[in-house]
Symmetry: D2
Subunit: 121 residues, 4 copies
């Protein structure tokens, strides 16, 4: 993994990219979180009319695969820029969340008959 | 940075977490992308009634700061799980997108008078 | 249909409701459109882990049915308030859009073999 | 207001439009709610880089005004189709929600010093 491909390296490239184009005034927390949710919706748009089975095979078509990767990049770009301007470490935040969820959703032993509902994590 | 805090390590923890709770049947690409966009909207919700100035200071309040980090974690969790089930490398996708954008949005030299519109990246 | 149940009557009630609580300063176009998209995501959240078959039966459970109607109300409330502050007539906008789409997506005669892809309207 | 411009008339036109193009198989509740949230995000996209002041003036530019009306139409179209397939009356749902909110958020008398926070309705 090259230096540019870790999260900190990508955040640096994104910050330099925005600075070179004088885009920082637009990159307020409120604007970036709006852009993040717009890009997540654009990723969803690719799947909105697909059956679950078609959705599983979306990467088989090169054009769709490119579109998926492109929207994933946009979502990640805005997430990283949002985190940068607010000083949030996204990897640390996720590691801490998984720790909390391991307590909140204990693994049931086999044979337990209690509820089986999938919870929003 | 510990092993658990890099992207691959977090993807592994998320996959083990879901497997231990038999949640994989729910984690289809179409469901995960819907969940991703829902979580991005929940992050936006924190900011929806704030002025731009209030939004800049959202991390000053410990409760809001925790809520932001928590929703960032959810967005990243679903993004990584979506990428995992479809075999997309999110860091590679973003690095490739920045490469393309450097061509698509060349840096203007000072004194250029051409358009000044911020583009969606 | 009572007077309160037509779109103009509901817009009037929403405007009076916000005015009585001094909420108008929050009800800027940018805030209202963010709130609209958040509420649409909350409606989606109800469906995110359901199979297509479970989703078809969501109104069979009184609690889910209430939740769906409640989120539909929120989406419509923010859409109508957004339209009110910007002076957009949503029914007129939709009628005009259907007119345009009837030209843009002509009905194929039976036997035509051209593309069968569902388009985003 | 002509017959085509009330909500029931628009729902009828949308249903006929979809039926004539054999689009009903795509118009499941889960797909329609995804499409609704995607369209709400596309409306948000128009505003994402605007300052609050620019957002207030978005209808002054004919091209932006058309784009806003067009996305409003899409949001309403999917909301009405979603309601149609699930048998939800959106106007009734909103009227009932306003009734509930009038109880939940009582109007404070002038001089009350209690909290002033805007609540999500």
């Amino acid at each position: 993994m090259t230096n540019n491909h870790d999260v900190a390296g990508l955040q640096r490239r994104l910050a330099e990219f925005a600075a070179a184009r004088d885009w920082q005034p637009y990159h307020t927390p409120k604007n970036l979180v709006a852009a993040l949710s717009v890009e997540a919706a654009e990723l969803l748009e690719i799947f909105q009319w697909l059956t679950p089975e078609q959705a599983e095979r979306v990467m088989d078509d090169p054009e769709s695969a490119h579109r998926v990767a492109d929207e994933v990049a946009d979502v990640l770009a805005y997430l990283l820029q949002f985190c940068e301007v607010l000083g949030v470490d996204p990897l640390e935040a996720l590691a801490a969340k998984i720790d909390r969820n391991e307590v909140r959703f204990p693994v049931r032993r086999r044979g337990d008959s209690d509820g089986d509902r999938h919870s929003s994590e």
